[in-house]
Symmetry: C2
Subunit: 284 residues, 2 copies
């Protein structure tokens, strides 16, 4: 919304309770997004909490925070996502993480002949090995397909998710897959980190843009746990390599010599994810 309104020429103020936008990224990666917002003229205010609205003649005309009052013509609330699971709850169907509907890999609830799929339902996280609630269109589509096949009499199972997400603000792209530091700590795992700044293309090639990559891996086993990317055009979709590696359960060693595509219009000789994996391996 900030991008769309900014492109329409509106003055945009963002009030963020935490220290960064994109709480799904680790702080140093989220800061890169903060910078992109500020650099593009968004008035980003972090560590500031919305407390209410000033009204005039029944219309909201200003946002009041714990620090100030911000006059506004248009106010948009982005408050997160909650599963719409009341119907299931009232029917006595067990709920899982964040009150999403508990389902097995066939998208079956605990109640016979009741199925759930999409933003209301939980998923199984292949990296944390715990149920999780991830409200994304790509997960919803897969779950819907699985539920439909089972309802139609053709048994199918959803293997689970690895927590992949992607978005952009203007020319700055970001993506993540697997677990971030907060999620890894919550599991009590010890981890090593590789964080690098590189370029999407060889620096001499037109269109080369900065890309930051962070790789997280389990200490000892060196099992890949998560990857985060923030960078210019052509950065973020590379997360799919990491997502596929997470599905495979790869260790950092198995990342080092991946036969990824190289030609100057597309990439450097060593993929930034591979370089970051090498850094994490040195540390771990």
């Amino acid at each position: 919304m900030a991008e769309a309104l900014h492109m329409r020429g509106l003055n945009v103020t963002m009030v963020q309770r935490s220290a960064q936008v994109m709480s799904t990224l680790d702080p140093e990666m989220g800061q890169l997004l903060n910078r992109a917002l500020l650099h593009n003229g968004i008035d980003l205010r972090v560590n500031e909490t919305v407390q209410g609205f000033d009204q005039k003649a029944g219309l909201a005309v200003a946002v009041t925070t714990d620090k100030q009052t911000i006059p506004a013509d248009l106010i948009i609330l982005g408050l997160g996502v909650t599963p719409n699971s009341d119907l299931a709850k009232d029917a006595g169907i067990p709920l899982g993480p964040k009150d999403s509907i508990q389902v097995n890999s066939m998208q079956q609830t605990e109640t016979a002949n009741i199925w759930a799929a999409g933003d209301c339902a939980q998923s199984y996280h292949l990296v944390s090995r715990h149920p999780v609630h991830i409200a994304l269109g790509t997960v919803a589509n897969k779950q819907g397909r699985i539920a439909g096949m089972n309802l139609g009499g053709r048994p199918a199972a959803f293997p689970g998710v690895v927590g992949t997400a992607i978005t952009k603000f203007m020319d700055t792209e970001c993506a993540r897959t697997g677990l971030n530091e907060r999620e890894i700590k919550a599991l009590g795992l010890e981890y090593s980190t590789g964080l690098i700044e590189a370029h999407t293309l060889p620096r001499y090639y037109p269109g080369s843009a900065p890309i930051s990559v962070k790789v997280l891996a389990e200490k000892g086993s060196s099992r890949l746990l998560g990857v985060q990317i923030v960078g210019g055009p052509g950065s973020a979709k590379r997360i799919d390599t990491a997502a596929t590696a997470l599905h495979a359960g790869f260790s950092l060693e198995e990342m080092l010599y991946l036969d990824l595509s190289y030609a100057p219009p597309f990439a450097g000789v060593w993929d930034p994810i591979v370089i970051a994996a090498r850094m994490a391996l040195k540390e771990g």
Copy 2:
């Protein structure tokens, strides 16, 4: 070269002995490249063999083929790549595919204390499970790193390649990984095929471009054998997902629910590689 000269405003004629450019792609995928060349004004002549050159005052002034004589100011020969392995051969070091130097996974030749890496040396192909000669910078860099580590006293092994390559002509990108039909047939494997035309982004999103994806898999096991991509901007780098899946030895079933990144500026909900894998699974 055709692209560079075309962009400089030169009239470019390409004489190709076979029916298509990019012999590393299957015919229907190579044809898409042929079309891109023709569409951009390259005078592409396929199934035509260069036989010699007309000279005037010691300078080549025309190319003679089995069909005609083509006057030219500048003639560039693209005749393929041959390993520069004479030194090794003369020293009695065994050679492998296409006379590349035989090495083990440590880049050691059969002769003590002699190592080889790069375009002169063979690689192990993880999909065909045979030695192969692939003269690409990305393979050479990996082999050089392995050889250097071993020479420096730190043992390291190169796991092998999956045959990934990428290039482009103007706005048309292409990439491949794994084995193509010719290579699969040479191994005597039975295979199924999934071939789809899709778009890089949802069609309503600016910059959405056509993308064709071909997936090849072993019949019976449904083991992924190869993927080829030809399409507009943003197409070809997606080959890395398939390359990583080949490293993992994934079956088509394991491709179907990969948690790949989705947001309208980056992709559709179902990745074209996944859709093509689904098609191949139906056939197989």
